[in-house]
């Protein structure tokens, strides 16, 4: 098993951790400012950046093969489909 087991990997983990904390601070601070619909956009955008960092680095998705990527992304596509379909139905009823 060839893993990145250098101190470089650990430095990356700590850097991602700091980035996650900073993004948390930003999203909480932004929530106190009234930006209308942009509050929702900003909050979901920041959450998605944080989620991507966790998946890519902490869950090592960036060094996984395409099969694992498929298993990670396909359920998200299905969730988007379920959400879109349900919203279209309930909003236009």
């Amino acid at each position: 098993m060839s893993h990145e087991t250098t101190t470089g990997a650990r430095r990356t983990y700590v850097a991602v951790y700091v980035a996650l904390l900073l993004l948390t601070a930003v999203t909480v601070l932004v929530s106190y400012v009234d930006l209308g619909l942009m509050n929702v956009v900003a909050a979901l955008l920041i959450a998605s950046v944080k989620a991507s960092l966790v998946a890519l680095v902490f869950m090592h998705l960036k060094s996984e093969d395409r099969l694992v990527w498929g298993f990670a992304l396909v359920p998200i596509a299905f969730l988007a489909l379920i959400m879109l379909g349900t919203l279209v139905d309930t909003m236009l009823r």
Binding site: L21, T24, F71, P75, T90
Partner: protein, 196 residues
């Protein structure tokens, strides 16, 4: 048909299979939580004013504190995985033990929040926002409890000398599960506490 299970003896293949199995499980988890996220989206679109007024009643500081706790626990998990990849079983046990403690801290904060809500007369049947709040954080809390159990089991296995730099599959897949629990919370914080 000659060798249908060829490759299963290969530790590398076994490790990749176990990882893929865990990702498959996470796919079902995405859809489990996804149903609740969909319900959230539908009712938020329907009752924006209610969601706005109710979400202000949640304690943003405690929600943020718990976010920091869970993000820190993800770091200790990934450092634990890194430790056992280098063959350091004792270090893995220590990092995972810290993670379990952080999980307990998370649940304590959650307990304080929930009792606070109950104290103010806010229950799962108060309105649709609090129904979703208690369902989503409750289901997530169950995942935290299960995750703590899984991590504790990994620590026990490690104490028994089961893991090495070459073999430590349970530690890796338990870590993946814990990160997923963190991922769900990363979305729950903004949806429930920040933008309601």
């Amino acid at each position: 048909m000659s060798a249908p299970h060829e490759g299963h003896g290969d530790p590398r293949v076994a490790f990749e299979s176990a990882k893929l199995g865990l990702w498959t499980f996470l796919a079902t988890e995405v859809l489990l939580f996804g149903a609740l996220f969909t319900a959230y989206a539908v009712f938020r679109a329907k009752y924006p004013a209610l969601f706005h007024s109710e979400h202000l009643k949640l304690n943003r500081v405690l929600g943020t504190l718990n976010t920091v706790v869970l993000i820190t626990s993800s770091l200790t998990v990934v450092l634990g995985v890194d430790a056992i990849r280098r063959g350091k079983a004792r270090l893995l046990e220590r990092y995972y033990a810290v993670t379990i403690v952080l999980g307990a801290v998370f649940l304590c904060v959650k307990y304080i929040e929930w009792t606070g809500e109950f104290h103010h007369g806010r229950y799962p049947d108060s309105n649709i926002f609090f129904s979703l709040y208690f369902m989503m954080t409750g289901l997530h809390g169950i995942h935290v409890i299960l995750g703590m159990g899984v991590l504790a089991y990994v620590v026990v296995l490690s104490r028994r000398g089961r893991f090495s730099g070459e073999y430590h599959t349970p530690a890796e897949v338990a870590g993946l599960y814990w990160h997923f629990v963190d991922l769900v919370w990363i979305y729950l914080l903004p949806l429930l506490y920040l933008i309601g």
